[in-house]
């Protein structure tokens, strides 16, 4: 399949970057149904390009022909009628083929895989809550803005919205699906190679719609199992004086009112679960790479970095801020 993609590459004008943030391009599929969609899209586009070239060629010829006036002729009119009828028949045939092809491809989108990994995603202004649910054990845990999936296994996302309409879109893996208040939608995909695939909200959802990214991290099966193990566990206990102080500030100040850190008293439900925040690639839905410094900057002044978001500025002394950000970064 890789070879085939390479053959297509120049044709698709692919200028994709798979650097730090992961690819976010419909032209760079890494799974199903994105690959099926790309094939369908290329087929339709190629056909359309030929049709367009034909129309423009006829137009150019019609405009550049020079000749003397001719009397009205019935046979010429009849010839034109025949040509136009033929063109119309061709139009109908092409459109019918497109309709049939997209109907078949649509059916392929709904892969009803019973073995699928079930993940609940809820859209908030402007971040993603991700809930893993194990039907066998009934165990569940929450994370945010990052979805880890095993390579080669179907993943079924249950999509819901907490406030306004959002749209889940990771183009390298699948087409988009809206998250709509009062409705539940689903999206199924399979990542076929390991990697990081970026996505972002595709339905205008207010002030910071532009800053509502997410990442799907596709891991080999063992690595995924290991990741699950880490995530199920409670937060690591603070291992130094500074981290302990960070923990205390977190619990004592307003932080815990909105955020949960499993294994501590912080159990707020408004903001993202922070139990393993230090292990995530980015914070604030893709705004910064997760570092101690970026965490400090975010906590110090979230309204300047992402104006309008729901996180208030909590006044902290400089040493408190240092301690809290160190503690956050330690929550791997």
């Amino acid at each position: 399949m890789r070879a085939r993609l390479h053959r297509l590459a120049p044709f698709t004008l692919a200028l994709t970057c798979t650097a730090c943030s992961g690819s976010q391009s419909a032209l760079d599929p890494a799974g199903l149904p994105a690959l099926t969609l790309l094939h369908l899209m290329l087929g339709i586009m190629l056909t359309c390009a030929i049709v367009w070239a034909g129309v423009v060629a006829v137009l150019a010829r019609a405009l550049s022909r020079r000749r003397a006036p001719r009397p009205h002729s019935v046979s010429r009119e009849r010839r034109m009628t025949i040509v136009i009828s033929a063109a119309l028949v061709a139009t109908v045939a092409i459109l019918s083929a497109f309709t049939a092809a997209s109907f078949i491809a649509t059916r392929a989108l709904d892969g009803a895989d019973t073995d699928a990994l079930l993940i609940r995603v809820r859209g908030f202004q402007w971040w993603w809550e991700v809930n893993y649910f194990d039907p066998k054990t009934g165990e569940t845990f929450a994370t945010a803005n990052e979805i880890h999936v095993p390579v080669g296994r179907a993943v079924r996302l249950q999509l819901a919205a907490a406030d306004v309409i959002h749209s889940f879109w990771v183009p390298s893996l699948a087409g988009k699906q809206d998250l709509i208040p009062g409705r539940d939608n689903e999206l199924t995909f399979v990542a076929q190679r390991a990697g990081v695939y970026r996505g972002q909200c595709a339905e205008f959802c207010g002030l910071q719609h532009a800053r509502m990214a997410l990442a799907v991290v596709a891991l080999p099966a063992e690595a995924f199992a290991q990741w699950l193990e880490t995530q199920r566990a409670d937060a690591v206990a603070p291992s130094s004086e500074e981290l302990r102080r960070g923990h205390d500030v977190f619990v004592a100040k307003a932080c815990g009112a909105c955020h949960t850190i499993r294994g501590t008293q912080a159990a707020g439900m408004t903001g993202p679960d922070l139990t393993h925040v230090g292990g995530r690639r980015t914070i604030a839905a893709g705004v910064f790479e997760t570092t101690r410094g970026s965490l400090a900057a975010w906590i110090a002044d979230p309204q300047t970095i992402k104006p309008g978001n729901n996180m208030p500025m909590v006044p902290l002394e400089p040493d408190e801020l240092r301690a809290v950000s160190a503690y956050m970064a330690s929550l791997k």
Binding site: C17, T99, E203
Partner: protein
């Protein structure tokens, strides 16, 4: 010349041509000055006003577009903040759709349809005056709010719940919803006028099969307006009710449904595209035969294609909702219907190509814009076929691919023909020719600038760039193409500037236009450029679909209209046989006052529901004044 004293019930056959012209001028003219401007019901004055106002809104919307391109030229742009950007793209879309595209098309109809069907004024002339003032009121509301930093910021579609009471703060969404009311009232009024003018005021002999294609397209457009606009009125009114008086149409917690809003919006929103596009098609069908110097090939198929497009346009709204999670089988139906609308569009393109192929085209500026139209619109139509496919759409929906698609359809498909039409009819409207040379320069700037601006957006969409984002991160691979797009937008803007300069300069500096500078075939070219206040000294009688080609020297005329009062000839719907002489309204200040009273009520209702109660009293007063009986016998059969 002997002057005959005018008795009542004197007919146009009783006086010499010079005196007839004088008498008709006397009864049809608009008084000079401000009073005349406020009271006129002349379709030509109102149409001109409409066109100019719509182009002012085009310029304003274009400036917003350039502001967005400045912001997006590079990653993490700092020209406009998130809040202002969201207002700007909402304003751009709402302004272009509701204050430019639909009104400018209706404005062309207001000016041209009465001339093309050979009558003296549009039907319901006072309603026509009212519709302009209401339209102006809606435009002032929207732009006034934007100037006060209260511009709507929820997109031109204003989806709930983002625009609802819980998430749409302040009065911004209300202003959007009420602007809709203004523009819809005005659009509905004009639509009714067009339908009645075409059905009942055609020149004798202009049977259905002899109606100019431009008029046909305006007729179909008017029906689309009448059938589609009520859906958006319901959507925006229920939205305002949710916001203002706490109804729960769209609140899922109280049994409301957010998708209902989308259905209502797009049941209007998709025909809206054809409300803009069909008039443009009519302009193309007027320009092509004139410059190909032969009759249009396939008149009847084109008429049927117009009607088919109109009907089909109501069956595809769901393709705007392919990713909302509707049942797959239903989606497949809408894929098929969305694809099917390409058939009548294709048929018209084939007929134009055949006309050009068989004729002897002269590549003057209007035809140049038509050629540019075919080149770009076919791309827009084909990308439309692409987004009609559900699986394709799931990847490109709400991305820059769609931004590219609908600008190809709306600019390529509607604005190109519109500018061609301005070059075409400018001599008729102003009595002056526009510059052929400046027009060529403007065309190439617009054509090249447009394609360089919008074609790369297709690729940006595939590369994952969503719409309506005020910025993007430097690590996304979009910076280069966005810079190309932003620079090309300047070329496009320069092209529009050239066009506007040409239009303004030619008002005084253009060559004086003859009555029929392009040797076109339809009735508007049978009168002087610009037309007299009464349009035609005598009502022409039509014996073919191309009257000025088939009888180039003299047209037969109908006689017998009174010359002591305004009268129009009423004819039958199908054969256009004369049926009656209808007295036409005089100038009046009441439509202007009614529009002011209505505007006050609508704006006030943003702030209090009681506005509907108290505000309707002045509306009632002005309407009573408007319709106060004059004691004139109406029709005389």
């Amino acid at each position: 010349v002997s002057e005959i004293p005018i008795r009542s019930d004197m007919r146009d056959t009783d006086v010499a041509p010079e005196q007839l012209a004088r008498e008709l001028t006397k009864i049809w003219s608009t008084p000079p000055g401000l009073w005349g401007a406020l009271t006129t019901v002349d379709h030509k004055i109102i149409g001109r006003r409409y066109i100019v106002t719509a182009f002012v809104f085009l310029v304003l919307g274009g400036i917003l577009a350039l502001a967005m391109r400045a912001q997006l030229a590079g990653p993490e742009g700092r020209w406009i903040g998130a809040d202002r950007y969201n207002q700007v793209f909402t304003m751009h879309g709402s302004n272009m759709m509701f204050l430019f595209a639909v009104p400018v098309m209706e404005a062309m109809a207001v000016y041209l349809v009465p001339l093309m069907v050979g009558t003296r004024n549009i039907a319901f002339p006072r309603l026509n005056a009212f519709s302009y003032w209401i339209y102006l009121g809606g435009g002032l509301l929207l732009w006034g709010a934007f100037a006060l930093d209260m511009g709507p910021d929820v997109g031109w579609f204003a989806y709930v719940p983002l625009s609802g009471p819980q998430y749409g703060s302040g009065k911004r969404a209300d202003i959007w919803a009420q602007m809709i009311t203004f523009t819809e009232v005005s659009a509905l009024a004009v639509a009714v006028e067009i339908i009645v003018t075409v059905f009942k005021q055609r020149a004798p002999g202009m049977t259905l099969a002899r109606i100019p294609l431009f008029v046909w397209s305006m007729l179909v457009m008017a029906f689309l307006v009448v059938l589609a606009m009520p859906a958006i009125m319901v959507a925006s009114t229920t939205l305002i009710l949710d916001r203002l008086v706490g109804t729960h149409f769209y609140n899922p917690a109280e049994g409301g449904d957010v998708l209902l809003y989308q259905h209502l919006f797009w049941f209007f929103g998709h025909p809206e595209v054809y409300i803009i596009f069909l008039p443009a098609v009519g302009m193309v069908s007027a320009i092509v035969p004139t410059f190909a110097r032969r009759e249009i090939f396939g008149y009847l198929p084109i008429v049927l294609a117009l009607i088919a497009t109109g009907i089909l346009s109501f069956g595809l709204w769901v393709h705007h909702m392919f990713v909302t999670g509707l049942p797959r089988l239903g989606e497949a139906f809408f894929t098929a219907s969305s694809m099917a609308i390409a058939i009548p569009a294709g048929l018209q393109i084939f007929c134009w190509l055949a006309t050009l192929w068989d004729g002897r085209p002269v590549l003057k500026v209007p035809l140049l814009f038509v050629a540019g139209f075919i080149f770009t619109f076919v791309i827009g139509g084909l990308t439309g076929v692409m987004v009609a496919s559900v699986p394709f759409d799931t990847q490109v929906h709400d991305t820059y691919f769609v931004v590219a698609h609908f600008h190809y359809v709306l600019i390529g498909g509607a604005v190109f023909p519109l500018i061609g039409a301005v070059y075409f009819w400018y001599p008729k409207i102003t009595g002056r020719m526009m510059s052929e040379r400046l027009g060529q320069v403007a065309f190439w700037l617009i054509f090249v600038g447009f394609n360089l601006t919008f074609f790369p957006m297709h690729i940006l969409g595939f590369q994952g760039m969503p719409r309506r984002i005020y910025t993007y991160q430097p690590e996304m691979p979009w910076g280069g193409l966005n810079l190309v797009v932003s620079l090309s937008a300047l070329v496009l803007a320069l092209g529009f500037l050239m066009f506007l300069v040409d239009a303004l300069r030619s008002l005084r500096g253009g060559a004086v236009a003859p009555d029929n500078p392009w040797n076109a075939a339809t009735l508007e070219w049978a009168t002087t450029s610009p037309p007299p206040v009464y349009n035609f000294p005598r009502i022409p009688v039509v014996t073919s679909a191309s009257p000025l080609w088939d009888s180039p020297d003299t047209l037969p005329v109908a006689a017998g209209l009174r010359i002591d009062r305004r009268e129009a000839l009423i004819t039958s719907l199908r054969e256009a046989d004369p049926q009656a002489r209808e007295s036409m309204p005089q100038n009046s200040i009441w439509p202007f006052l009614a529009a002011i009273a209505t505007s006050i009520m609508l704006v006030w209702s943003i702030f209090s529901p009681w506005a509907v109660v108290w505000g309707s009293i002045p509306v009632a007063v002005t309407l009573i004044g408007w319709f106060w009986p004059k004691g004139i016998p109406e029709d005389e059969a």
